[in-house]
C-alpha cells in the first residue's frame, strides 16, 4: 500500500467514524428541552410527573417538551449547578442547598422561597424508620436507636439533604424528651452517630446499603423512600415504624432564572413548577409516596398511607435553614463537634 493510499484510508475511516458518531448523538427531535436538577429519591416521582406535564404542555401549546433529569445527592447537585450545570429548575431536598446556589451564582433572588406557595414546597415528606420484617430489635421511637447492639443507617449530613432531616428530627425528639437540655441533646445525637456503621453520601446509597446489602437494623429514611423500598423489595421484607415525633421535610423547588432566560425557557420553567401544585400533579405526587400539599384529587388509598404524627418544622422550631445550617452543619458546627468515626 502506498503512503498516500494509506493516508486516504485513514482519513476516510476517521471521517466516517465522526459522521456515525455525530448522527448517533442527535437526541430525539423535540421542540423544547428543560433540565430539572433534582436529588436522589425523586427519580420515580419526576419520571411520572414529567410525562404528565409533557402531555399537559402539548395540549396547551402544541409544543413537544423533553424534560431532562439529573439526580444525585442534594448538596452535590447544588454544587454542580454552582459550577455551571445548566439547570432550568432545581428541585432539591432542602432550602439550604437552594440558598447556596442563589448566594453563589446570583442567578435568582435570595428570597426565592416566597415565589411559590407553601415556601415553594409543592410536596412534603417526613422521616420514618425502616426495619426488618417483624422489627426484631423492637425499635419504636428515637430513644430505641441508641440501645446496645442497634445499628443505624443514615447518610452523611454533610453531603445529603435527607441526612440533615434525619439529624434534625432526632434533635427535635431529644430536645423535647430530655427536658430541652442542649448538652443532653448533643449527647444523644453523639450516641446516635456512634451507632452508625456506614455513612453513605446520599439517601439512595444508604437505602441500598440497608435494603440490598443488608447492613444495619434500622434505616432512617424519607417516608417516600421507605414506601418505595417496600414496593421494590416486597412488603414482606421490611416494616415501617412511625416515631412519636418527626420533622416536616420540605423539599423546595425554584426556577434558576438566569439559566432559563438564556435558554428562552422562562415561561416553560415557571409553568413546569406551577403545574406541580395542580390537583392532577398532586395526585401523582401522592401516588409516589410524597405528602401532597393539596389532597383534593389524591386517591384515598394513597392518602391512607400517610399516618398522622407530630411534626416539627424547620422554620418554626429551628429558625430557618440559614441558622440551622450555620449551627449544625457548617464546618466546626455541632455535627463536627459530636461526630467521631467509629473506626
Amino acid at each position: 500500500m502506498t503512503f498516500s493510499l494509506l493516508r486516504r484510508r485513514l482519513t476516510l475511516g476517521i471521517a466516517s467514524l465522526a459522521v456515525a458518531a455525530s448522527v448517533g448523538i442527535t437526541p430525539a427531535l423535540a421542540d423544547r428541552t428543560l433540565l430539572n436538577v433534582s436529588y436522589d429519591p425523586t427519580r420515580e416521582l419526576y419520571k411520572a410527573y414529567n410525562e404528565l406535564f409533557a402531555t399537559y404542555w402539548k395540549e396547551k401549546t402544541g409544543e413537544t417538551v423533553t424534560i431532562q433529569q439529573s439526580h444525585g445527592g442534594s448538596g452535590k447537585q447544588a454544587r454542580a449547578v454552582i459550577d455551571g450545570l445548566d439547570a432550568d429548575v432545581v428541585t432539591l431536598a432542602l432550602g439550604g442547598d437552594i440558598d447556596q446556589i442563589a448566594k453563589a451564582t446570583k442567578k435568582f433572588p435570595e428570597d426565592w422561597a416566597k415565589r411559590l406557595p407553601h415556601n415553594s414546597s409543592p410536596y412534603t415528606s417526613t422521616i420514618v424508620f425502616l426495619v426488618h420484617k417483624g422489627n426484631p430489635k423492637g425499635i419504636k421511637d428515637w430513644g430505641d436507636l441508641v440501645k446496645e447492639g442497634v445499628q443505624v443507617i443514615t447518610p452523611n449530613p454533610k453531603t445529603s439533604g435527607g441526612a440533615r432531616w434525619n439529624y434534625l428530627a432526632a434533635w427535635a425528639w431529644a430536645q423535647k424528651n430530655l427536658g430541652g437540655d442542649e448538652a443532653k441533646t448533643k449527647q444523644y445525637i453523639a450516641d446516635l452517630f456512634q451507632h452508625v456503621p456506614v455513612l453513605d453520601t446520599g439517601a439512595r446509597g444508604s437505602t441500598t446499603t440497608f435494603a440490598q446489602r443488608g447492613v444495619g437494623d434500622v434505616l432512617l429514611s424519607w417516608e417516600n423512600e421507605a414506601f418505595l423500598v417496600q414496593q421494590e423489595f416486597g412488603a414482606d421484607k421490611f416494616d415501617i415504624v412511625i416515631p412519636s415525633l418527626s420533622i416536616r421535610a420540605e423539599p423546595p423547588v425554584t426556577v434558576v432564572d438566569a439559566n432559563a432566560k438564556a435558554k428562552g425557557n422562562e415561561d416553560l420553567a415557571k409553568a413546569y413548577l406551577e403545574y406541580l401544585y395542580t390537583p392532577a400533579a398532586q395526585k401523582v405526587i401522592a401516588k409516589n409516596f410524597y405528602r401532597p400539599s393539596d389532597e383534593s384529587a389524591a386517591d384515598a388509598e394513597d392518602l391512607a398511607r400517610f399516618p398522622k404524627l407530630e411534626l416539627v418544622s424547620i422554620d418554626a422550631d429551628f429558625g430557618g435553614w440559614a441558622e440551622t445550617q450555620k449551627k449544625h452543619f457548617a464546618d466546626g458546627g455541632v455535627f463536627d463537634e459530636i461526630y467521631k468515626p467509629t473506626n
Binding site: 503512503f3 465522526a18 458518531a21 433529569q69 444525585g72 459550577d83 455551571g84 450545570l85 453563589a104 451564582t105
Partner: protein
C-alpha cells in the same frame, strides 16, 4: 505484550527440585485465585443480567436513556482513542528518540493520570472550566460548553487514558533506539516515510495493545467522567454512569444487562488481541529475536 516475552524454562520441575505435588498445589492456588478474583465476578455479571430471562436482558437496551449512554460511550471512545494514539506516539517518540531538558518531568507527567485518583482528575477540569473556574467566564461568554457536556467527558476520558498508549510505546522505542530511523534518513527517506515504513511497523504490536487497553479504559472510566458529567439522563451519562443509575433505581436486571455489554466489549477487545497475536505469532517472534 510483555506476557509473550516470558521464556518458559525448558527444564522440568523435577530438575529444579520441586516435587510434583508442590507444583500441583501452586497451579491449583493460581487457578483458584484467578477464578475467584477474575472469572467469578464476570460470570456473576452475566448471570445477573440474564436472571429474568433473555427477553428482559434485551429489553434493557430499548430504554432510550440506556441507548443514549451506549452511543455516548462509543462516541467518547471514538474521539479519545485516536487522540491518544497521536499524543501517545508524539510523546513516546520525543522521549525515546530525543534528549532534551525536562524529559524526566515529561515522563512523570505522562504517569500522572495513573497515580492520581480519577475523581481528582475530574475535579481539575471543574476547577478549570466550571462557571467559576479559570476559563469559565470566557467559555460562558463565547457559548462554549465543556463541563456537564460531551466535551468535558471527552477531556476527562482523554486525561485518564493518556498513559496507556505512551506507556506501552516508550520502553519499546527506547530499547529499539534511533539507528533504524537514522539509517532510513541517511538513505534519503523523508520523516513521514521513515515514520510509516520504519518506526510504525516496529512498534505496531505495542501500539495495538496500547490502543486496546486505552479503548477498554475509555469505555469503562467512571470516576473522572462522573465528576464532569452532570448526570443529565439521555444526554451526559456514559455506560458506567448509566449502570450506577439503573442499579440505584432498583433496576438490577437492566443494570447488569448494560454491565454485561460493557464487560462483553472488554472481552471482545481481549479476544481480538489474542487472535492477532496468534495470527502474527511468527512475525512477532522474528521482530523480537533481532
Amino acid at each position: 505484550m510483555s506476557d509473550a516475552t516470558i521464556q518458559f524454562p525448558s527444564k522440568t520441575g523435577s530438575e529444579i527440585g520441586e516435587s510434583f505435588a508442590v507444583k500441583l498445589v501452586l497451579i491449583a492456588i493460581a487457578v483458584a485465585f484467578l477464578a475467584a478474583v477474575l472469572l467469578l465476578p464476570l460470570v456473576v455479571v452475566f448471570m445477573e443480567g440474564f436472571r429474568k430471562g433473555a427477553e428482559n436482558f434485551f429489553a434493557a437496551f430499548s430504554d432510550p436513556d440506556t441507548l443514549s449512554a451506549v452511543r455516548l460511550t462509543l462516541l467518547v471512545a471514538a474521539i479519545a482513542v485516536p487522540f491518544n494514539i497521536v499524543f501517545g506516539l508524539a510523546a513516546s517518540w520525543a522521549i525515546a528518540k530525543f534528549n532534551f531538558k525536562g524529559k524526566n518531568l515529561l515522563l512523570t507527567l505522562i504517569d500522572l493520570p495513573f497515580s492520581i485518583s480519577p475523581v481528582i482528575s475530574g475535579l481539575v477540569f471543574i476547577l478549570l472550566f466550571s462557571a467559576h473556574g479559570w476559563f469559565g467566564p470566557w467559555l460562558k461568554a463565547n457559548n462554549v460548553e465543556i463541563i456537564f457536556a460531551t466535551p468535558g467527558i471527552v477531556l476527562a476520558t482523554v486525561f485518564v487514558t493518556f498513559p496507556f498508549v505512551a506507556r506501552e510505546l516508550i520502553p519499546l522505542m527506547q530499547s529499539q533506539g534511533t539507528t533504524e530511523e537514522e539509517a532510513a534518513l541517511t538513505l534519503g527517506a523523508s520523516g513521514w516515510y521513515t515514520f510509516f515504513y520504519v518506526t510504525l511497523p516496529n512498534i505496531r504490536w505495542a501500539l495495538l495493545y496500547g490502543v486496546l487497553l486505552c479503548n477498554a479504559r475509555a469505555m469503562g472510566e467512571f470516576g473522572a467522567v462522573s465528576v464532569v458529567s452532570g448526570h443529565i439522563r439521555g444526554l451526559t451519562n456514559t455506560m458506567p454512569l448509566q449502570i450506577e443509575i439503573l442499579y440505584n433505581e432498583y433496576n438490577f436486571t437492566a443494570a447488569f444487562a448494560v454491565a454485561s455489554l460493557l464487560a462483553g466489549l472488554a472481552l471482545v477487545t481481549l479476544v481480538i488481541k489474542s487472535l492477532l497475536e496468534w495470527r502474527y505469532a511468527s512475525e512477532l517472534a522474528a521482530s523480537r529475536r533481532h
